[in-house]
Amino acid sequence: MTNPPQSSNITITKDSAFSVKINRFLALLQRLLSNPTTVIGLIIIGLMLSMAIFAPWITTANIPDPYQMPRDWGAVRKPPGEMGYLLGTTNEGGDVFYGIVWGSRTSLQLSIYVVGSTMIIGTIIGSIAGLLGGWVDEVLMRIVDVFLSIPELIFALAIAAVLGPSFTNIIIALSLVIWVKYARIMRAQVLQIKQNDFVDAARIVGDSKFNIYIKDILPNAVTPVTVQATLDMGNVVLIGATLSFIGLSEAGIAEWGVLVSEGQAGIASGRWWASTFPGLMIFLWALAFNLLGDGLRDALDPRLEDR
């Protein structure tokens, strides 16, 4: 095989489908990074991720279970800065800073498990509904509609309540509530592309339905699904924290919502730090993903006159 001409610039010489994709991706990246708010979001996410990944190095893990808040009965209710506790301590002598750091791990787990599973389940069900059509579609979409008729938080609340308070149950509850969004998106994508002419062309040529699905439908669907998933990464932590706040998680674990809830008791006496800092983290997490999601949506949308 002869060597293809060497060139430092792929865009000029090679014209393979792969290089086109790379270039599109790079262009997307550039558009993303040109928006200041998106960059802020990315930075915050970067910081949170680092915090989550390096948690055992940033603070000493609590034994036996690092997700349980450590109790230092000798340093109860300390304000920030005292006794070496950067952000103060809770009612039971828990290090607020520890809670923040390990809470980021908890949030990361929560969002990845929920968004990951709902994306897969929702996409599969939505695709089935769109591809098969007919009564399968009708039945599945009615179910989706019913699920969408119940407000998100309330639905998750009811499921978690019925299953019993635990972190795992919150994950299950949220997953059951959110998958419908992806089903809808996917189905819409499938239907839209089914109508397109090039699918008919592919069918004439003899591509199997499955092939068409993989090659044509999925790539186009990536866009709205990705945007939704990004926004949900933030949203899930927000709702999850609300559920924890109401009391559906386990007491004493390093989870931001739980910490805010437990920190409430001290407000009347002026102990603001136990609730404020964990809550701030929830806000920043949701904010970052919202900014990124918006930025993605704008960068992926060709007609961005506005801004």
Binding site: T37, R142, I143, D145, V146, F147, S149, I150, P151, E152, L153, I154, F155, L157, A158, I159, A161, V162, L163, G234, L238, A241, T242, F245, I246, G247, L248, V260, Q264, I267, A268, G270, W272, S275, T276, G279, L280, I282, F283, A286, L287, N290, L291, D294, D306, R307
Partner: protein, 337 residues
Amino acid sequence: MQLRDYIIRRLMVLPILILGVSIVVFTLTRVGGSPIGIYLSHEMTPEEVLKIEERFGLDKPVLVQYIQWLKGIVSGDFGWSGVASAPVAEVFPIKLAATLELATAAGLVALFLGITLGTFAGARRNRFPDHLTRIVAVSGASLPQFWFGILLLIIFWAQLGIAPIGRSDATIFASISHPTGLYTIDAILAGSIRALWDAIWHLILPALTLGYGATAIIARMMRSALVEELQQDYVDAARAKGLAEKLVIKRHARRNALVPTITVIGLTFGFLLQGTITIEIIYRWPGIGRWMADSVLRGDQATLMTYVLFTSVLFLLVNLIVDVIYANLDRRVTLGK
């Protein structure tokens, strides 16, 4: 013609959806322990318990149980609330009124602020008011409402001591009668300025907290709608008549921008509805949200299920109404083109 068909179609689907929701709710009751547990209370005698067990047929097939339960709902029997120590149906309206008052106040705040802010931003695109509104919008969507509420409490209640907690001062509240259950309205009806002020005073902080997120939703939509409208010909045509810019924006652009903004009212309503849960917890507001939160923690399934059913039906109705209004208004715009 199309509008009528649209309304009819939506109305026909509605009962199916409500039925679907009831099935989901019933399934939840089966998952969480005894399906007839919602009807039992500690004060019942063993004979009464047996009667109820018979009525709802624990030994009968699931479908029959479901129908029995449904029959109960339709006849107004929503079960017994362990938290309130009373039938759910009895306590619900009173608490609902409290929540409604809060949600309406927050909604009005959100509507007013949201539209104003959105118009302001849209008319001055990419200048300072626009950036400010963007920040409000994004933060509103990311803000954990319970945290926001706690922050405000820390500042205004704990530190400054100028905001109250709860819905009312007990003595003032007891001094007037409550025909409607809405404190503000009742105060007006009773002609008591003291009570009216008490009601409003307690409403301020919770309504602002709850309304902040909703303001963000509305402002964001209003802004983009206004920017769209300002690019239309009729805006230039209005300017060509010699009208002042303010008038052009208010009477022409904004009026039209309100049409697409209506579509977010359903979303806003859902937001307010869900927000009341945590807001009521924090501010100790005696509404259905807090009742529901207590029920969750104390296994009061009757309240929980009634709440889910009620809010879903309400949510469906509001969305239906909003969609119909929008379809009606949208005709004017689309047919004109």
